[in-house]
Amino acid sequence: MVELVLFIVFGAIALAGALSMVLHPNPVHGALGLMATMLSIAVFYVVNSGHFIAAVQVVVYAGAVMTLFLFVIMLIGVDRHENLEESLPIQRPLAIAVGIAFLVLLGLIGGNAWITAPEAASPPNGTVENIADLLFTDWLLPFEVTTLLLIIASVGAVALAQYDPRPKE
Amino acid sequence: MDFNVLSLLIWLPVAGAAIVIGLPRRRPELVVPVAFALSILTLGLAGFVVVDFDLSNPGFQFVEKTAIWSDLGIDYNLGVDGISLFLVALTSFLFPIAIVASVNITDRRKEFMATLLLLEGALIGVFLSLDLILFFVFFEVLLVPMYFLIGLWGGERRLEAALKFFLYTALGSAFLLVGIIFLSAQANDQFGSPTFNYLELLNLDISTTTQYWLFAAFGIAFAIKVPLFPFHTWLPDAHTEAPTAGSVILAGVLLKMGTYGFLRFNLNLFPHAAVELAGFLAALAVVGIIYGAVVAIVQPDIKRLVAYSSVSHLGFVILGIFALTSQGVSGGVIQMVNHGLTTGALFLLVGMIYERRHTREISAYGGIQKVMPLFAGFFLFTVFASAGLPGLNGFVGEFLILLGSYARHPILAIIAAVGVLLAAVYLLWAYERVFTGELDSDENRALTDIGVREIGILVPIVALIIFLGVYPKPVLDRIEPAVERVLDRIEDRTGFDSPLRISDVTTDGVEVTP
């Protein structure tokens, strides 16, 4: 019963946040809406026993990433209403049609073949220890590779930030 | 064998390319000597292989084999037999010459030399590979340095020519790859595991219809490379635009990959199809012989003329190979070497005069024998070697091919003999227009004769041309056992009876049983 309440409340918040991001002409509002969505998803993680990743979600996503977004929005100065008129000819109807079709199809699939596996007796416990166990045993190599990825990304970001297209005086 | 000489032959030039690239930029004068020394070292290794080659063994020698990917049956498998032996030797012989001929290249010299060395390694790899995937990799890889040779250091229309060359040959390779993979799949069906090992694929039992398809797949790739009429139009463009070294290598060695491929793969792997289609391919070859010669007659550009002469000469090689007689096939093999030497020399000579006069138009010249007597002498010599004058190398090959192919394709052989006449027509006419008559322009009067370096380039070729023409025995002795083995295999597999074998011929005047 509690879960149902949580689902309805935070589900509504998540949808609202998502919609506001897409529909609101001001990117700052959109970013805030997305942040709300992410926080509610963090709640769902907790409900689904993903304690560690819920924390990560809040800290990394809702915290760091979204802050970065806001920061950039402010930096390049697009923090005002923008024109939402569509310039590409069939983009908007196509996008909407495809989106609806996608939902319908997912619904069809859901109706026919949702999850066929039986529900597990006990949900997994996503504590830091358990996740760490998996990360440093089965997923060690990908884990190490992500470090490489992160280094490359940070170096790339620095290099891009230093790049100045204007000719030197 | 204590060391893997064949691997060394391939990888020494490749490593050499890296060494040349790594030379300090402040010491540009080191580039040519280092590249030259490396190519000479490769030539030495090739010489060792030729000398150490066992005449009594018709199979592959110096074999090396290491599995690369055993699940798919891909090996690193090298070996040399009488057919590939002299192509490897020719390759390693032409590269030092090409390097010395290119010392006047100032634009990105280091990269140029490295490209040449890379090309050498890949070319040797093609001739030595006994694994089809390895073969294909080398076959494709060498397109890249060749593309850059033409595209970076070529003439005015170099990009167009390089692109045409690349796309045309890559198109052929696509068919080749499909054929190779299909063969491996057949091996999987028959042996239970896929393999790309040439020697194992020889044991495949392929139905005649399938052989036709595979013959076509392999054949198109090789026909484009040869090039066989009507796939030849990339050749004049590529030759004309390529720098001298590029033309020498292109004509001298690259084209031989096609003829070599026909002999090594089409004849051996698909004997039924080869026997059935021999007439068709020989006919195409003869069309090429006549056609190339006729078109060469009126070319206004010397390089194009030589390029079309290649079409004609390689027609002889294909005719010899598909004569399916000992004489024809061994003539074809030795003619590959001969053509590499004579056409290589012709391109070198054209390059020398182009360096001085910056035009390839025949009509721009005239009477220059007066100011360049040495050059004219070398040119005339090469012209006659190319026209198949007895006593020089070209004749040995053409004679074997013509007499060897008569036994199976009499009409075609007779038509091909006309090609010998046409060769004299286009070459001597060009010689007449360039070298004889009055010296009537100031630019021509100001020409200087060739110097020590240029003579040094030409003399080894000339010496080989004479040697092969007068005493081809050491070469024929190594080629013939391998050729006999190919024909034995074909006769054995298909019940085809080759009309002329070496054992049929007597050399003394004693009684011959009819």
């Binding site: 997305l34 769902f44 990743i53 990433v65 977004f69 529900e119 990360l135 891009l160 | -």
Partner: protein, 101 residues
């Protein structure tokens, strides 16, 4: 009334489609970028939910990796965007059509 995995999956699907629509409808590069993040979150939710349904913790590990990759992607993506903005003074992707055939 139990909240089964299906409910969450439906929610995930809805979020995903909203994200995708944002991708297609908005021309502000930053908003498009955020839409991508939304789609990633939607999928992450599905990972976790299915993980709970099947009792498998690996779903959460996958989410962890997605987050890492997304973080890296955001860093680079935003850097690119700043670089582009410096040159073009516009955040509209419709202005970046020089690769038009």
């Amino acid at each position: 009334m139990d909240v089964t995995a299906g409910w969450y999956l439906a929610l995930g699907a809805a979020l995903f489609v909203i994200g995708a629509s944002g991708m297609l409808l908005r021309r502000n590069a930053l908003v498009m970028f955020m839409s991508i993040e939304l789609m990633l979150n939607a999928v992450n939710l599905n990972f976790v939910v299915i993980g709970r349904h099947t009792g498998d913790l690996n779903g959460q590990v996958a989410v962890f990796f997605v987050m890492v990759v997304a973080a890296a992607e955001v860093v680079v993506g935003l850097a690119i965007m700043i670089a582009v903005f410096r040159r073009r003074a516009s955040a509209s992707v419709d202005d970046l059509a020089t690769l038009k055939g």
